[in-house]
Amino acid sequence: MIYRENGQFKTSYLADQQIFTIAQDKWFVLGLIAFAAIGVPFLADEYLFRAVLIPFLVLALAALGVNLLVGYCGQITLGAGAFMAIGAYAAYNFMVRVDGMPLVLAMLLGGVAAAGFGILFGIPSLRVRGLYLAVATLAAQFLCDWAFLRIGWFTNNSASGSVSVAKLEAFGWVINTPVEKYLFCLIFVVFFALLAKNMTRASIGRQWMAIRDMDVAAEVIGIRPMYAKLSAFAVSSFFIGVAGALWGFVHLGSWEPAAFSVDRSFQLLFMVIIGGMGSIMGSFFGAAFIVILPIFLNQFLPFLGGLVGVTVSTAGISHAEFIIFGSLIIFFLIVEPHGLARLWSIAKQKLRLWPFPH
């Protein structure tokens, strides 16, 4: 029995309210973070950092934000890309227009701006629900696409509509190399994941979930739908906004509105559903699945083709990538409709029972 929790008794409610009530989980995650912070910088090469790890971290953060709204509060949104854009452009404008604006503050303010718009676009959720809401949030998406493309002020009147950022520096730390960028993102992600976890295990998180599961009943026990929904929109947009700022500043360095197009919104929603709605861990699983799998397939398929002695054309690879990617989504959902996170916890349960079935 590898995964053994017998003998772990909780003697206080404090202990029982811990983030990880099972020691193995706790050590596993702490170990993972330590490895990510200390081990990975020695192991990974530049490509991994720039093309895989940094996008993974940033999108995981955004997915986390989406998960708070979609997974925890049950308000499906297809406008996440817009809030990333708001975060990025707001941070950009704070940087450009305010002298001596510190980078981290600008990013957080970007998040705040996104939160503000989040509340605004969250208002329809008070009346509209489910898929109707999901489609309605596309209004935010297209409106933002348009505004950032068309209103010169946002892009500091750059002719092409593309903006770029100068040097990155936080608290005297010049963030230059991919490793530094990676660590910078990692700090954000760990910190925000902690915030998210705290919220979801506290009263506010329960309010969100209550609204998600049965809103009338939630109201009957004294939860104000307006507060719960709008706070979810605000918090989620804040996360997404910060992620947007990271995406623009740290990952891309220079971007155009297409970087936050509707495809991005869909992508983030997929991450949440595939990873597991209502699970912090799930956001990471989802981001990993959606970011890494296509890249992996793209490199693995030619290799595979090479093994059997056929050269696969680029187009062939891409098409195969589509097909395999789609099939895997279907496969995982059939195996576990509640996402990878649930699959993971079932695996843990099986381990717990192992080697005795049931």
Partner: protein
């Protein structure tokens, strides 16, 4: 306690004391399009009593509860709460006033554990703001622990310790009903509305449930409004009974009075009882 001397009719039974009228419903009418769910119904509820509402299916019992806690808005009639007229009422305001309820078609939060479900009932009493909660700093944590202790009391009381951490969706129906009750109790309500709490239970479980209800009433002095189709239960544990039929009131009084009311027998009880 308030003066119980103003001749509460059922006061004698069980030797408990009833207080003043806490909720007075006057001439309530509720329509849905052409369907008249409630027509001109008046009755009152006294503090600390167990007030049953019975009637055939579709009589409007659940609708009555929905009116009391603000889910439905009657087209006509007044509701006086502690002598004051309640104006526009939303469910969460009713919750603030201390009205809690359980649901006929269980309305638990399916994705959450039993503990979390009951914890949501404490929501109104939790004061820390979002930032404190996000950072999980002292105050928020202490508050969480304090309420958790309360909730554990309720869990013990309802004897559902063993399923604390289970997701409610996977629980059998009967236990879900119990969790539903727990959630309502966690609000420490003044008035507890129970919509068929014993449906789908066998006698033993009903006995347990009755015991919980009576204990709640005794220990916390909570006023209870109960809808139930099991006449044995209703007649045994309620102090006063209202009978509805097709949205109209056809009887009101002590269990004995109601049991012998011919209208009630015709419409609902049948001769077997």
């Amino acid at each position: 306690m308030t003066n119980a001397s103003n001749a509460a009719p059922a006061a004698a039974q069980g030797g408990r004391k009833f207080g003043d009228v806490i909720l007075d419903l006057q001439n309530i009418s509720l329509r849905f399009g052409g369907v008249k769910a409630l027509t001109d119904i008046s009755f009152n509820i006294r503090e600390h009593e167990v007030r049953a509402i019975i009637g055939p299916n579709g009589a409007g019992k659940s609708s009555m509860l929905n009116v009391i806690n603000g889910v439905y808005h009657p087209q006509e009639g007044k509701i006086m709460f502690r002598g004051q007229e309640r104006k526009k009422m939303e469910p969460h305001m009713a919750a603030k006033q201390g009205i809690a309820r359980t649901f006929q078609n269980i309305a638990l939060f399916k994705g959450m554990s039993v503990l979390d479900n009951i914890m949501t009932g404490r929501n109104l009493r939790m004061k820390c703001n979002l930032f404190q909660q996000a950072l999980w700093i002292g105050a928020a944590r202490n508050e969480e622990i304090a309420h958790r202790e309360k909730v554990e009391e309720i869990v013990d009381f309802l004897e559902i310790q063993h399923i604390r951490k289970t997701a409610v969706g996977a629980l059998p129906y009967g236990l879900q009903k119990r969790v539903d009750l727990g959630r309502a109790l966690a609000m420490e309500p003044e008035i507890l509305l129970l919509d068929e709490p014993m449906a789908g239970m066998n006698v033993e479980e009903k006995q347990d449930m009755c015991r919980f209800i009576l204990d709640i009433s005794d220990q916390f002095g909570t006023t209870i409004v109960l809808i139930e189709h099991d006449m044995g239960v209703v007649m045994d544990i309620s102090d006063r009974v209202v009978v509805l039929d097709y949205g109209k009131k056809i009887g009101d009084g002590t269990p004995d009075e109601v049991r012998n009311n011919q209208d009630v027998i015709n419409a609902y009880l049948g001769s077997g009882h």
